[in-house]
Amino acid sequence: MIRKSFLAVIGVVTLLFVAGVWLLDDIVVAGMVEKTIEAMTDGPTTLRGLDLAPTDMRVTWGSLSIQDPDKPWLNMVQTGSADFDVKGMQLFAKKLVVNRMALRDISLGRLRPGQGIPEPGKEPPSLRPRKKVEEDKPESGGGFLSLENLKGTLPKVDLTGKAKKEMNLDQVLKPDQMKSVQAVNRTSAMAEERSAYWEKRLASSTLEQDIAAIQRDSKKIKMGGYANALEAAQALEELNKLNQRISKANAEYQEIQQGIDRDNKAIQKSYAEAQALVEQDVAAAKSLAGVGGLNPKEASSMLFGPMVIGQFQQVMGYLQMARKGISGSGEPKPQGLALRQGQWISFPVTSRVYPRFLVERIDLGGNLIDTYGNPTMTLKGTFTGLSSDARLYGKPALLNAEALEVNGGTGRYVVTGRFDHLHDVSVDTLDIKGTGLRWDDIQISRDSEGTWPKTMSTRKGATTVHFVLKDSEMDGTLTMEAHDPQFIFSGNPRTESQRAMQQMFQDFGTLSLTARLRGSLQAPRMDVSSNLDKALSSQISKLVGKQQKDAEDRVRKGVTGQFSKSQDQARQKMDQSRQKLNGRMNAMKQPLDSVSGEVNKAKAEAERKAKKEAEDKLKKEAGKQLQNLMPR
């Protein structure tokens, strides 16, 4: 009943399988690890010297390198040996779960073997990124791009004054682009529109005719010299009727006049606002003409801005790498609706569910290695909760590390990080504190004329970085302190201004710099300040002071001239239409007031006459009644 030949075949297959596992397990696991890391970082990953012991699922490797997808001549991360155990049962669910890993020797941004550093913009074609970074996506590259763009917005100062001398005001002052002129034009248009409105309102109203009719009808009524009470009473009746018409006309007149007054006030206010925009136009024109006066606050941005941006870019690079790896919850499994696909039914989860990739704890050790492979610092620390699905894992990833300078140096870095992706809005925080640092040749500018320092060095530096990335909003602060900094210039001073500038830098004692980077990844804002600000800006002012003032005066004169011209034209037009309207209103007001006065006077006289006659009559009647009552 049993196929004996098949049993033999099964025996052979089983032997081959065991031999295959024994020989190929390392390749399979290495491939799995490489694939997982590549998916997390986008960087081509190479794992060397991997050895898996299938009996206890213990893994060791010799080295791991993750190539930088943006700079293929560098390894984004390179590590030395590692030792860890894999949860074998989870491999059935295609999950790589590591309880504890010991990792030695880490280098960030190390040069790949056999590759020189290419000139900027001249990357070897063979080293192009394997996977194109989607630069438009804010979560992948938006931050870097935006920071790169920030460099273009840093303030610049032209010490040669060449730009100011060649300044062409006609190109800079374009009236249709000036905010103040635009505001005057808008106000003028508004004045015209309101004037036309009131003209139309008066044209459609019967007020002028009503006043003429009142004037005409008033002449038909006797306005005084009443002979008797009857005549006075009759006149009073007509005067009351006329008075009602006068009140109605007066109310309409007042309504129109108040409306006109309101509009005039608004127009005056608008003109005043336009005046205030002149300063903005002057500033814009100065900027266009390259006559930007250097605000003391901008001095550090100008000089240290590119270096600070570089530092922030580095911090953000690692934050974004962490963010890419530690993603939120995975996509829900799609429910199959096609034939033979069925539906997946879920049951209560009683055992621990692991994410696709999890390393619960990494013990960091060994050294930090520099770009050229030399150990610079000893490293000690932990990284916990590195997972592909933080929500499923339930804890944020935490980094705590300390690095101490080797070879008797005093440098010390303390790094703490918290990568919280448990909620819809992920919050990544990184703090770095460095003390006793030695900085050699930190690049500051690319100046080749000897005006600005090219590099800075110090034997005693300190730095702190606090960076928070909340969803796509960032807030980072960087401080640097350099004692007795040495500023290196590209050459000896050739002009007086260069000599003064170099002297100022040579005499400087301690440089304290603070930079803050805020805003969204797409539109970051950066402020840089240092204790060099005041000295630097006053030095620059001294050097470019007169040229600066002349150029500023020219720009100011040009802008105010354009503004005054357009304002005069607008005012002239507005005055004309206002005069016309006022004339029309006055033409109505005069007869209305005059008739109203006459009517009121006549009314008073008629009332007086009627009252006196009534009193006399009453007295007479009362006397008669009294006589009748007396006994005869």
Binding site: I2, M89, K95, R340, W344, F347
Partner: protein, 177 residues
Amino acid sequence: MLILLKSLAKVLKVLKDGATPNQIAGGVALGFVLGMTPGWPLQMLLILFITLLLNVNLTMAGVATLLGATMGLLLDPLINMFGRILLQDLTAFKGLYTAMYNNPFLMLTRFNNTVVMGSLVVSLLLAAPVFFLSRRGVVVYRKKYLPKMDKFKVIQLLKGSKLYGLYVRLDRMGVMK
């Protein structure tokens, strides 16, 4: 076309005298179970192992796999519904399902898929009837219909065709083996 013809000839040969009725019926029953369940969950590897281990007819197992797959496709809505009832409505099994669901190795059986569960149970329930019906069918075929096979018009047409002639010639030359 030649492959189809060869398969048909092989089936007819098996039905004629190539294997015992039990071997044929065993192959059909196991092939039917294999065909009914989509994909290759863990339990299907076990069924395949049993099929290869037991001395059942593999030609008929292959044919039954195709028939089982066709039947599974046609009955998919019913199987899907049945699977959902088994997984969701049988509360007595909830503990078992939960234990299996939490075991990564047993999850390789893909038992929590309605079609996998439905088709597995349906095919296992039908395996015994399929076995007995097939065995009976083979016996009846050999006794009643085999002697008259050559008289069937379809067979005559088939044997008279050029394609069949070509097949026979190639078979004699050993090309078809």
